[in-house]
Symmetry: D3
Subunit: 228 residues, 6 copies
C-alpha cells in the first residue's frame, strides 16, 4: 500500500535557512496573505499561552488516538530549529505531550510543537516558554502501544504538512509554507509589509479606505445606494 | 422587497449622550439584569484580550461570508463614540478585520468592534488597546466583491441590533440596549448597583443569602428536606 | 424513587485532612496519572483566569437549567476548605454564579467553584482571586424557582462526584479523587513526582526517551522501519 | 423598559392569505433566493422526520430555558393556518414540546412548530404527521414557573420573526418572510421557478452552465488558466 | 486504588424481570418523567436507524479511545435480554463496533448497544435490526491493546450506569433506571400513561391546557398581561 | 508561488477502471481497513438521504466561502464515472449545490458529489437519487465572484484528495483511495471480505471472539482479572 504506517524517514529536505530566517520576521496573517491565502490550519488551533509564537521547519509525526508512543520516536529526528507537527488518525483531545517531552524536545533544539490534539502541564510549558499550538488542553494521559509514522506527509488541523515545510504560528493561528515556496513567500511577505506601513499612516491620519483603495466607483457600479 | 441589501443609511438616531455615559459606568451583567435579562449576545462572543471593554452607540454593517468590502463603507459612517457591530449573512470565522482597519476605525473615533465572525492581527490590536469582541480569531483573509448594507437592523450573535443602540461589552459578554431604553436601563442599573453594595457587605460578614433574601420559607414550602 | 430531588444532606464524610494536604502539592496531570488515569472532567472545563487552581473537598449541588436557587442552599453547607461542585440537569451556559455568591462562599471558607455551566462577574472574581472552573462565561441571569439537591452524588462534566471527594483543578483541568482513595492517590502522586525529577534532568541533558524508557526493542518488534 | 416580558399580544396582523397560499407552492431555497438571500434560520434547525414541511403565519412565543409554561399560553392564540415559532432566552435543548401539546396545537389548527430548542415524543409526532423543526430531540422535561411572552418579535435560530410573518420550512431549512413582503416574495419565487424549468432542461441535455450563463468571458477576465 | 481498571465482574444483580417487562411498554420520555426527570443521557446519543428502540439490563464496558479490545470481553458476559453500555475514557468517535460484533452480541442474546463513541456497518446493523444508540457513525477501525473493565459503574454520555440497571432507548434518547428503582419507575410510568390518555382526548377536543391544568390563575398571579 | 489558484487542470490520471470496479463492490469500512486505516474523511460528512452510496474517480474543485462559481467550471471536466470532490478555503455551510447543478453533473455522467460544505434542494436530489455527502444542508445561496481551482490536490474534511483518486462513500462515511493504490486496496478488501464470511458464521453460532481470535492469553498477560 502506498501509505506508510510504521516508518521513520530520517533524511528530509528542510526549507532553505535564509528564507526561513526572513519568514520569521513576519506574522501569520502577513505570510498567509503573501502566499495567496492558502496553507492555514483551522481556527481551533490556539496557543497555550498568550504571545506564544514560533517559526521553524516541520518534522512530522502521525499518532493514534490516546497513544503518544511516536512522540518519543520523533524526538530523535529533531534538529535545532525544527518544529514538531503532530497529527492524529482520528479526533482526540488527550494530553499527548507534557513537560517531560517538552524538556526532551527543547534539549534537541526544537522551536515548539503544533498538535491537532491535546497537551498538558500548561503551567510548566509556559514557565519554560516552550510554544505549543494545540486543539485542546487535557490532563488525560496516553499509552504507548501502536506504531504511527515520522516524517511522512500529514494533515494537521486541515492543512497538508510535508516534512521540511516552514511552520509559522502566533496569536492569529498556524500557517504552513511549503519548503519550495519559502523564498518566494518571504519576499512577498516583505513586499506586503513594506506596502502596509504607508497605508497605516494614511489611515491613522483619517484617510478612508474608500478613498485610499479607490473603492467608491466600484461600489457605485455594484449598485450601492446612500440613504438619508 | 422590504429587506435592504446594498444600502447605507447615513442618518441614524444615536442613544442620548447622558444615558450612554451613565451606562458606561456599569458592567454587562448589571445592565443585562437591569433590562429584565434580555439583549445579550451568545456566549461565544469573547474579548480578544483579557480586560477588553467598551460602551458606545452602534453603527451596524451586514457582511457576506469571506468578504469584508463593507467594512470600508461603514468606516465612513463612524462618529466619535461609536461601536461597529458586524453581522454576517451566514456563519463564517474568516478574519474580516485587522490592524489596518482598526487604525482607520480608531482615527474615526470608534470605541471598538463587535463582530459575529473572525478577526486577525490580535497582537497589534492588543498593543493598540482597540477592544474587539468576536466569535473567532483567524488569519484567513477576505475578498471585496459583494455588497452588504450599513446601518440597517442586524442580528449579531443572536441579538437584534438597531443602529444607534447602546452596546456594552466586557469580560462577561456583549449586551445591546435599545436607544429608546438607554435612560431607563441606566437608572435601573444604578439602582441595582447601589442595592448590591449593601448585600455584598452582609454576605462578606457571613450572612447567608438564605436569610438575607428570606428564602427559607419558600424552600420549605417547595418541599426541601434536610437530612442528616 | 431512589433518586433524591429536593434534599440537602448535612453530614458528609470529607476526605482525610492530611491526605488532602498532601494532594494539594501536586498538579492535576500528576494526580490523574497517579490514580490510573480516571476521574478527569471533560476538557471544556476551563479556569476563568490563567493560573487559577484549587484543592479541596467537594460539597455538591444539582441545579436546573436557568435556576440558581440551590446555590444559596449549598452556601450554608460549606465548611472551610470545601469546593462547591455544581452540576445541572441539562446543558446550560447561563451565569449561575457571580460576585455576590462568591463573596458569600468565600466568607464561608470555600476554596472555589467547579460548575458545569456558566458564571459571570469574571473581572470581580479575578480581583477576588476566587478560583472558578466552568464550561462558559455568561452574563445571563437565572431564576430561583425549582428545587434541586445538595450533597447528593452528581455527574459534573462527565465525572462522578460524591460529596467529600477531593477536587483538584488547575490549568490542565479538573480531577476528582474519591475520599476513600485520597491517601493512596497522594502517595502515588508523590512517588510519581519523585520519579519524574530524575527523568527530567536526563532528558534535559539530551538523553532520548527512546533510550531512557528502553523503547527501541519494543518499537522494532512492533515493526518500526527506519528509511533514509 | 421597552422590552415586554410577561405579555400576550392578542391581535396581530397576519400576512395576506393569497400571498401565503402562493408562497406555499415553493420550497425554502426558492423563497430564500427570491427574497434576496435573507431571512434564513441557522442550519442546525432540522425536521424531526424526513419530508416534514410547513407554510403558515407565525405566532411567536419566548420561553425560558427548561420552562415551557408559555407553550400553553400561546396555544390559545393559535388560529387555523398558524405556525408556532418558539425562541428561548438562552440556549437549551430540553424537550419543551411533545405529543400532548401537539394534540392541542393541532386541535387549534396549527400547521406546525419551529423551535430553537428540543422536542420529544418524536415517534408520536411523526405518526400524527405534525411537522416540527427543532434544534434538538430530547426527552428532558420542563417546568412551568416563569413568564415569557407571546406574539412579541423574537429571534429564533438567528432570524428575526415578527408575529404574522410567513414561515416556510422543508428539508432545506426554515425561512421567514415578513408579512409586508409576502406578496412580493411570492411573485419573485414564481418568476424564479418559471425561469428554472427552462434552465433545467438545457442542463439535462448537456448544455454547460459555463455556456448557458455565459460565464466563460468573466472567468477569463478574472484570470482563469486552463492547463493540460 | 478504589477504581478498578482491568477487571471483569462476572456476577451482577440484574433488575427484576417483571419490572423490566413492564418498563418495556413505555417510551423514554414517559419513564424519564416518571423517575422525576433524572437519568437521561445527553442528546447527542442518537439511534443509527429511525425507529430503533430497546429495553434491557445493562452490562457495562469501559473502553479506551481507539481501542475495542474489551468489546470481545464484554460479549462473554452478555445474557439474553442484556444491553451493552459502552463508555470511553475520553471522547472518541472511532468505530468501536460493527457487524461482526453485532452478530456475536446477538447470538448471546443482546437487545442492543448504547455507546458513547462511534459505530460502523450501519447498513448491516440496520438490516439485522440490531438497535444501536451512539454518538457518531465512523468507519474508523480500532486496535486491541489496552485493558479496560467490564461491569464496573461507568458514566456514559453524562449518565451513571451501574451493571444491572435498566436501559430504555428510543427516538427520544436513552434513559437509565437504577435496578432498585425499576419497579417503582414502572408503576409511576403506568400511572402517568393512564393519566395522559384522558388529557389527550380533552386536548384533541379543543380544551386548552390553560383550562385543563388550571393555569390561568397562576399566570395572572405571576403578572401575565394580555394586550390587544 | 507553488500553490495554484485560478487554474483548471484538464488532463488527470484516473484510477484504473478494473480496480475501480472491484472496489465498488465493497463498503467504506472494509476499504478503509484494507488500506491500513487511512484516508477517511471526518465523521461530520453524512449522506443527504439514507442509503446514498457512490464509488468513482475524483475530479476536485476548490471553492471560496459563499461562492460556487467554480462548480460550473468543474462541471465541464466531469467524465462518466467521476465524483466531484469540493473543498472550501474556510469552513462554510452555505448551499453551494442544488438541483440545477445536479442536473448538469448527472448529464455529464457524474456519480455524485462529496462536499465539505452545504447543499440544498435535498428533496429534489433525493428524487433524482443523486448521492451527495456533505457537511450540512443549507438553503443559503452563493455568489459567483472569485476564482478557485479545478483538479488540484485538495483537503476535503481532513483527507487529502488528488484528482483521479477513487472515492467511496456510504452510510459509514467517505474514504479516499489513491489512484496508484486502487488495485492493491481492492485485492486487500476482497481478501478481508472473504475472511469475514467465515468469522461471521462462527460468531452467529455463538463462538466468542475471545476464542476465535485467541485473545484469552493476551488478556491474561495484560493482567485482566475476573471477579465474582
Amino acid at each position: 500500500m502506498s501509505y506508510q504506517i510504521g516508518v521513520v524517514k530520517r533524511n528530509i529536505v528542510r526549507a532553505e535557512k535564509s528564507a526561513l530566517e526572513k519568514l520569521s520576521r513576519f506574522g501569520v496573517a502577513t505570510v498567509h496573505e503573501a502566499m495567496g491565502r492558502v496553507g492555514l490550519m483551522q481556527t481551533y488551533m490556539r496557543p497555550i499561552y498568550p504571545g506564544a509564537h514560533l517559526c521553524g521547519t516541520a518534522v512530522t509525526v502521525l499518532l493514534h488516538p490516546g497513544d503518544n508512543w511516536m512522540m518519543h520516536v520523533v524526538a530523535e529526528q529533531i534538529q535545532p530549529g525544527d518544529v514538531v507537527v503532530a497529527a492524529v488518525t482520528s479526533q482526540c483531545t488527550d494530553g499527548f505531550f507534557g513537560d517531560l517531552l517538552a524538556t526532551s524536545f527543547k534539549a534537541r533544539g526544537a522551536k515548539g510543537l503544533v498538535i491537532d490534539g491535546g497537551v498538558r502541564d500548561v503551567k510548566d510549558l509556559t514557565a519554560m516558554q516552550f510554544p505549543v499550538f494545540s486543539k485542546a488542553v487535557s490532563a488525560k494521559g496516553t499509552i504507548k502501544a501502536t506504531l504511527g509514522s515520522v516524517n511522512i506527509p500529514v494533515i494537521c488541523a486541515g492543512a497538508l504538512v510535508n516534512p521540511g515545510d516552514v511552520i509559522i504560528a502566533d496569536d492569529d493561528g498556524v500557517v504552513v509554507v511549503p519548503a519550495a515556496a519559502a523564498r518566494e513567500a518571504a519576499d512577498a511577505a516583505e513586499a506586503r509589509e513594506n506596502n502596509e506601513a504607508d497605508k497605516r499612516s494614511k489611515l491613522a491620519a483619517g484617510v478612508l479606505g474608500l478613498d485610499m483603495y479607490k473603492m467608491r466607483e466600484g461600489l457605485e457600479r455594484a449598485g450601492l445606494k446612500y440613504l438619508d
